[in-house]
């Protein structure tokens, strides 16, 4: 198509374009980040069908061959995008929680950040679902899941532990039985979050973000009440 004539011919006949490079070299680190961003953007726009080398390279504005120069294969690129997606979510939620100064406020901030843009965006949630759909048959995705999703679970468990610990401090010092069931409570809360995200993704008009926060707070409230009850019993 273009061929080797482009550069020389332009230099002679078209002074305006003669000096403009046809592409810009970038550091691998930056280019990798751009390719990951393009991958996520393609997922948002086209779902699973957006995960093709040509679609992604077009979105990134590079040629088809560049991806395999920076990533060994497509699966690794997708896994890298999944990892970035995970880390960005956890960082966002962790930062939101850190801005508050009491356990209760931290959890509330966490929940409100969970159900606010950019996390509560139909496109974003659809990206999650596609990643989840890849999980079972992609080793790289599984590897990333085990490595990064754990952080999310730890974050939730930490927030709950602080809250329950504080709520029962006045009574006995440490919640009895609360530690054993803290694991289950965290599982339930993350499941509730994931489920609400999923349902919102499938039917955005079904409930409002505020209601989702309220549902999660009801869960936590019931948990605290139970922990306190066990404590005083």
């Amino acid at each position: 198509m273009k061929g080797p004539r482009t550069r020389a011919a332009a230099a002679v006949h078209n002074p305006l374009e003669a000096r403009r490079p046809r592409f810009r070299r970038q550091l691998p680190q930056q280019r990798r980040a751009a390719l990951i961003a393009a991958t996520i953007e393609c997922l948002k726009r086209y779902g699973h069908d957006g995960l093709s080398i040509r679609t992604i390279s077009a979105q990134a504005g590079v040629s088809v061959g560049l991806i395999n120069h920076h990533f060994p294969n497509k699966d690794e690129l997708v896994a890298a995008a999944f990892s970035h997606f995970n880390r960005e979510l956890v960082d966002t939620l962790k930062a939101a929680a850190a801005r508050a100064d009491t356990p209760g406020a931290r959890l509330r901030a966490f929940l409100e950040a969970s159900f606010s843009p950019p996390n509560l965006d139909a496109d974003v949630l659809a990206v999650w679902v596609v990643f989840w759909g890849l999980y079972r048959h992609s080793r790289p995705i599984q590897r990333v899941q085990r490595a990064t999703y754990t952080d999310y679970v730890h974050l939730v468990r930490g927030l709950l532990a602080d809250l329950v610990g504080k709520g029962t401090e006045g009574g006995r010092g440490r919640a009895r039985g609360g530690g054993a069931n803290l694991r289950l409570a965290a599982i339930g809360l993350t499941a509730l979050l994931d489920g609400l995200w999923l349902d919102w993704c499938l039917e955005p008009g079904k409930f409002r973000p505020r209601e989702a926060v309220a549902l999660c707070e009801s869960w936590v409230e019931a948990l605290c009440r139970r922990a306190a009850g066990w404590n005083s019993a």
Copy 2:
């Protein structure tokens, strides 16, 4: 595998194969059902990659051209499989609930059926996640979702309504405010169910089925207590 060799050995040239038909004609209804079953089986085995005409037709033991004879295109076949998958789940859960005779027992049976085989199977859940991942960019899938997922929500809401209604009958006759929040409670329960399914799919060893049932029952219990509280207040 092929056709039955029950034909009489009246063969002239090749007694072994002469009379055996190369295929058996079937009613469109039966063939469609077989193709749908093959589609789901391929999804279980190969995830999203299993959704190819050749993989499915091989699984069904038919030629590649037959699918487009019974379905206008691949998307419609997948949507039909999704519809069948939905309906089968709802029927199973509804039947389990119907076997019990009190509202509480019905809900418990519903939950236990939700977290027992064949519903709580990693392959089955992976199929759900793939379907959900297709949702946003496939009109046929959206159409099926709107048509059949509603039944599931109605089932959950009905079970909850019976339970709350019964639990507060002795007090005042009808739950005050419970009706308004029944919608949210049903949303939360379905979200909790979906989320627990999803988490179990991503990490089957994270919790045991009994624990999932217990988590859901905690949710419902808290709901009932709140409804009773509102009633007596």
